[in-house]
Each structure stands twice: as C-alpha cells, then as structure tokens.
C-alpha cells in the first residue's frame, strides 16, 4: 500500500497537498489541468522532490527522504527516457545494474524483456534508429527488469498518435497485470483514463484529491472535474 500522509510539496509559490492511500495492484490515473501539479506529485513519489511536510510510505517503509534509486518505484518520464548513445539492450540493462555490469543471466533477462515488449530484433539498435513507439517499448522493457512494485508514468506516450497510444496503454495494462505492480499514470485524456484506470486522482486547486473509482467519477463528476472536462 502506498501512503501519502499529510504531504505538502512546495515549489516557490506553488504548493500541493496530498493525503490518501493507494491500494496495491491497482491502476490509478492522475488527471487535472496542465500546470496543476500532476507531474509534481509523481516527482515527489519518485524522489526528485522532497516534501516540505508529511510522509510517503510504501507498506511500512518510510520513503520520504530516500533517494530515487533506493525507492521501490520506477518512473517513465515525458521524454529523455533512453540514453541516445546506448543500444536498446544497454538501456534496458541499466535497469539491472546502473554500472552496466551484467552477468550471463542478466543478459538473458534483458533479452526476455525485449522479447516480451516485441522488440527482439531491435536489441542492438540505438534510439535514433527506433520509432517513438519502439522507444516507449524499450522503456517498458526496462520497467520489467527493474521489477519495482510501483510504476509511475508521466505521460510518456503523449507524443504518439491515438492508435499507438491505445496500443501502448494496453501493453502497460498487460505488463502491470503480469507483474502485479501498482500503477500511477498522469493523463491528459479522459478516454485514456477510462481505458486503463481502476481509479482516478484529480489534481486541482493545489490539492491532489483522494482516488475515486473511475466509473463513479465519470458518472457523477464533482465540480472541479466538470470544470476540467468543460
């Protein structure tokens, strides 16, 4: 269980409050106006921002001051998810060893992960020779080898076309189901949220509201939600 206990994140004059829990093995969409603090919330969970107040816990572990790499959390960013000078396989391998010291078994895990995301043939290619969808798949393969129980997606598929985005979301749903991971994903598009999420966190008015079940939220949207959807 992921717990945000009276968390206050401050960045200059902007601040965001969050106080809720997220059940394990759930898929949660984070929605709200741009600039509202969706990415800020994920950054705090991933460890790139330290909250001014409050605690972030995973089960009984206090993560609040842990550096990003020590947290049981993997994140995919909006861009720059792969190092352009490394091959697809090397980029995935970094998820196992940050110094890229891989054993024979590790190499096998990398290959398996690339096969799983449908990129068996692309292992030796560098990102410049991959399409946007393939780059996203490499990043997903890295999530697989990292094997963290919490996955954060900060709109990594925003630049893809609608069909490709739906395909990637389905792949994410499959991978999350296989690994029993807890997923939080930022989304701009209510359709994306409906497609994949069990529940939704609405970020508005400097508050990250507690998650509400997806169908419930869309059937009976609160005022902030109605403002956002227009």
């Amino acid at each position: 269980m992921l717990t945000l206990e009276n968390v206050q994140i401050t960045q200059g004059s902007f601040s965001l409050h969050a106080d809720f829990t997220i059940a394990p093995d759930t898929k949660t969409a984070v929605i709200g106006a741009s600039g509202g603090g969706k990415s800020t919330l994920l950054s705090a969970l991933a460890g790139f921002l330290t909250p001014a107040r409050g605690r972030i816990r995973w089960n009984s572990d206090d993560l609040t001051t842990q550096p990003p790499a020590k947290r049981p959390i993997s994140m995919i960013f909006q861009d720059n998810n792969l190092f352009p000078h490394l091959t697809a396989a090397q980029n995935v391998g970094l998820g196992i060893s940050p110094a890229l010291r891989l054993t024979q078994a590790d190499h096998q895990r990398v290959s398996d992960a690339l096969v799983r995301v449908g990129l068996a043939e692309m292992a030796t290619r560098k990102p410049a020779a991959l399409s946007g969808g393939q780059i996203a798949r490499v990043a997903l393969a890295r999530l697989l080898v990292q094997g963290n129980p919490v996955i954060l997606l900060d709109e990594p598929f925003a630049a893809l076309g609608p069909a490709m985005r739906a395909e990637m979301l389905d792949l994410v749903a499959e991978l999350v189901a296989e690994t029993k991971a807890t997923l939080l994903m930022v989304s701009h598009d209510p359709e994306d949220a409906k497609r994949i999420a069990d529940q939704i966190i609405l970020v508005a008015d400097q508050i990250a509201h507690p998650p509400i079940e997806t169908n419930h939220l869309f059937n009976d949207p609160p005022e902030a939600m109605r403002n956002w959807m227009g």
Partner: protein
C-alpha cells in the same frame, strides 16, 4: 528538481577542491609571491615605463588594425557564397593553434629583409622595409588576430535574422541604408568586446616581442619580465613588472568580460545571407579583393614555412628531434593535466549549479604565463634549481592557461547532459564513475576531444614559461627554433618550424577526430 548537494568529502568534491586549490595557487598564489618580492620602492625606471607604453600602444594598434581589417572581410564572407568559402573559414581558425614561432618564421619569409615583399619593393625601385620593432610586432599580431576577429564578427553577422534583410530589401534599402540600419547597430554591439579580447591577447604577447621586438623601443612588459629574470637576474624587478602586468591584464580581462557578457556566440558559419543589395559589380570586386587579401595574408606565410622547411627538415641535428620528442610528450602530458583539472570543476558547476568553479577557471585569463612563471620562480628558487623543474612547471602552466577555452566548450555540454538526463540517471541509481563513463563521457566527447586537441597544440607551440625556466639544451622544440634563429641557422630553423607545424596540427587533429568518432547525438 530538488538540488542534491554533493558533500565536499565526496570523491568529486575532494577532486574539485584539489583542482581549485592548484589553480588558485597558480594564479593568486603566484601573484602573492610576486607582490611580496616586488621592489615597489625602487620605482619604475625609464626602460620600465617605455615597456609599459610600448605594451599599451602596440596592443591598441594591433586590436584596432585587426578589427578594422576584419570588418570588410567578415562582410564579404557573410554575403558571398563561393567554392572554398568553408575552407577559407576553417583556415581563418588555424592561426589560433599555430605556434607563434612558426608564424614568425613565415612572416619573416614574406616580409623579412630577404622576403618576397622586400624583393618586390626592390624590383620596383622602392626602399625596403624592416619587419623588426614596432611594425613587426604589429604585423604578427594582426596575422594572429585578424582571422580571430573575422570569425567573431562573421558569427554576429550571420546571427542577424535573414528576415531583417528581406524586410530591408522590400523597403528598398540601398547598401548604405542597410549598413546604417542593420549592420552598424550589430557592429557597435560586438566590436568593443572583440577589440578588448584582442587587446588582452596582445598585452600578454611574449613570443612575438621576443623574436620580432626587443631593444629599448620594442619591449613589452612580458618581455621585460623575462629579461629581468633571465638576463639581469633581478627577481625584485621582475616581480614589480609582474605586478604591473597583472593589473593591466585584469583591467583588460575585465573590459573584455564587460563588453561581451551579453553576447552568446552560438551561430554557425554555414549559410551566406542571400542579399540583392550585394549584386553590384563594384561591391563584388570590393568583396573579392578583401577575401583575396585575407586569404593571401594567412596562406602566404604558412606556404613559405612549408616551402623553406622542406629542405631543412631532412637535415637537422639530433638535438632538434629530441626537442621534438620532449615537446610532444609535454603536450600530451599538458592535455592530461588540463583534463584532470577541468573535469571536476565542470562537473561540479554543471551538477550542483555552483558558480565558483567557473570563476576559478577564468582566473587564469588575467594571469599571464610570465607572471605565473615569475611567481613560481620566486617560490621555487630557494629550494630547487628552476632548470630541474622546467618541464613539469611548463606542463602545468600550459594546462592552466588552456582551461578557460576548455571550459567554454565543456560546460554547456555537461549542463545539457544534466538538464536532459539527470532524472533518468538518478532514477536508475547511476552514480560516481559509472555515471561518468556511461552517461557524461559519451555525451561530451566532441568538446572534450576539441579541448584536448587545443591544449596539446597550444602547449606544443608554447614559448613562454619554458623560456624562463628551461636549460636551452634540454628545452622544447619552439625554444630550439628560437636558438637556431639566434644563431642564424635559418635553414635548420625553417626545417624545425615545419616539423613543429606538422606536429601541432597532427596532435590537434588526432584528439579532435577522436572526439568526433562514434559521437552520436
């Protein structure tokens, strides 16, 4: 992003502190030594005042001539598209890494007593001109700085948006209006900074003054320091002159910084602006003449070095080859020392967004090699023989002098790495040397190769600190050439100069190409 301060006791912090300490010692430490030993009470003699005046006057006129001549050349390059344009622009970059002594020999072959120029004057019945003294120093400084000024002005010219020229054309501007409304405002903005940079370079001129100047009428302060220490053995006098030189350089460096602080030279050289106002025959001829002049002025001395060197190079005593070997090894060592100093500073500046590493790295801009040399001489002389330390001291000083150039290339690249990839690297737990090897190094290869090549070439051609310290029989190749010139063994000097030219360019290219190989973005 939260700033994760790297503690001073981390390996990077310690390494950076050590690099900073060494640079502070070389700049402010040696300055303190100089100030401590300076005989302020003895005052400035007549020769010292003459040196100060000569330094200021030659630097002023060198900068003035370089900039004034560079404007029409840069304009011609900006508005003409012709085969060989790119080669000419590359060639204009060459004097920067060209050893001074090589250029001096080339200029002597063209403008010297028996040079092409005087032969032509003779043939037409004119008096020959002397290249020594004020005119020679000026000539050499313009040779080095006209190309530099041209490239800097050209960058600003090409940074003017093409739309502005198009608008001017649609308003029916004549070339004169074009100049007054568009080009002059740009020039007024950039010229003071370029003038100040060249003034600074010429203030610290040593090798040119040593070879073409000298005597009571053409001695720079830098040369006077050398003579005080080396010929008169008067450290107190050298220290006094060094103090003056430091003030002068600081002032010049400050004004260079003041005039350039808002400029950002990021434009490329690849496009010439299409302009209908430049089509007139008169302007075409004018541009053609400017480009022809610039090309000849740069190419002719180099061609003469190659031509006169070819006979001498096969016929040189063994000591020249030994000096060459020493020089190459020292140049490589200098590059490595430079790297070990600049990397931690750049990394701390980029990663922790600190300003002090940059400030320390740029301190050496206002410290001239001979001032550093004098300070080190004062500090080391009581305990060691300067001759024994000549080579390590030269290696370290040359490394320090190259740091501002290296940092200028490296820091933006490292900042870009941090801005784009720090979150991913942090998330994956990449840290320490593995992070440097897997992330930073592959992404800074180009500026790194360039910085190493530049340092190697500059230190290969250096004739400064080494002249102050070295035993002439165990010196570097430039020092050897200076000695051969002094002994009027011009054929051997020419051969050695050609060897030096080849080695400098080769070192630069090996490092620079090494940075470009496999450097994918």
């Amino acid at each position: 992003m939260a700033r994760r301060a790297v503690s001073i006791i981390s390996p990077l912090g310690l390494w950076g502190a050590a690099a900073a300490a060494l640079l502070l010692f070389l700049t402010l430490g040696t300055l303190a030594a100089v100030a401590w030993q300076a005989e302020f009470t003895r005052g400035l003699g007549r020769a010292d005042i003459a040196a100060l005046r000569f330094t200021l006057i030659q630097a002023f006129f060198s900068a003035l001539l370089s900039v004034a001549l560079a404007i029409p050349v840069a304009r011609a390059l900006a508005r003409r598209q012709f085969p060989g344009r790119q080669i000419l622009i590359t060639l204009l970059g060459a004097p920067f890494i060209l050893p001074v002594i090589v250029a001096v020999l080339g200029l002597l072959a063209v403008f010297g007593r028996a040079g092409i120029f005087n032969q032509m004057l003779n043939a037409f019945g004119f008096e020959t001109v002397s290249v020594y003294g004020f005119s020679g120093v000026l000539l050499a400084h313009v040779f080095f700085n006209l190309p530099l000024a041209t490239r800097l002005i050209l960058q600003s010219w090409l940074a003017i948006p093409a739309e502005r020229f198009r608008l001017a054309q649609s308003l029916g501007f004549a070339p004169r209006d074009m100049f007054r409304q568009i080009e002059w405002p740009m020039l007024r903005e950039v010229i003071p900074g370029i003038f100040a940079v060249i003034f600074l370079i010429c203030t610290t001129s040593f090798a040119v003054a040593l070879t073409l100047g000298g005597g009571p009428k053409a001695t720079t302060i830098e040369l006077a320091i050398y003579q005080a220490l080396r010929s008169d053995f008067a450290p107190g006098k050298a220290a006094l002159l060094s103090s003056i030189q430091f003030l002068l350089c600081t002032l010049a460096a400050w004004s260079a910084w003041y005039f350039t602080r808002h400029q950002d030279a990021a434009a490329g050289f690849d496009r010439a602006v299409q302009r209908s106002d430049a089509g007139a025959v008169g302007l075409r001829i004018q541009d053609g003449l400017c480009l022809g002049f610039a090309a000849f002025f740069v190419i002719l001395p180099l061609a003469m070095v190659i031509k006169s060197g070819l006979t001498g190079i096969l016929n040189m005593p063994d000591v020249v080859w030994w000096a060459a070997l020493r020089s190459v090894l020292m140049a490589i060592a200098s590059s490595i020392v430079m790297l070990s100093l600049v990397l931690p500073l750049a990394q701390i500046a980029a990663k922790e967004k600190r300003a002090w590493p940059e400030a320390i790295a740029y301190l050496s801009v206002s410290a001239s090699p001979l001032v550093i040399g004098t300070g080190l001489f004062i500090l080391l002389n009581p305990y060691f023989s300067p001759r024994d330390l000549a080579l390590p001291v030269t290696i370290i000083v040359n490394a320090a002098m190259a740091i501002p150039f290296a940092l200028r290339g490296l820091l933006p690249a490292m900042r870009e790495v941090e801005a784009s990839y720090a979150p991913l690297a942090d998330q994956l737990g990449m840290a320490g040397f593995a992070r440097f090897r897997l992330l930073t190094l592959p992404r800074i290869r180009r500026p790194l190769g360039f910085a190493l090549g530049l340092t190697a070439a500059l230190s290969m051609g250096d004739l400064g600190v080494v002249a102050l310290f070295a035993d002439p029989d165990a010196g570097t190749l430039p020092l050897m050439i200076y000695r051969l010139m002094g002994a009027y063994r011009m054929e051997q000097a020419a051969g050695a100069a050609l060897l030096l030219l080849i080695l400098s360019l080769a070192l630069f290219m090996i490092f620079d190409r090494g940075g470009q190989k496999n450097a994918d973005t």
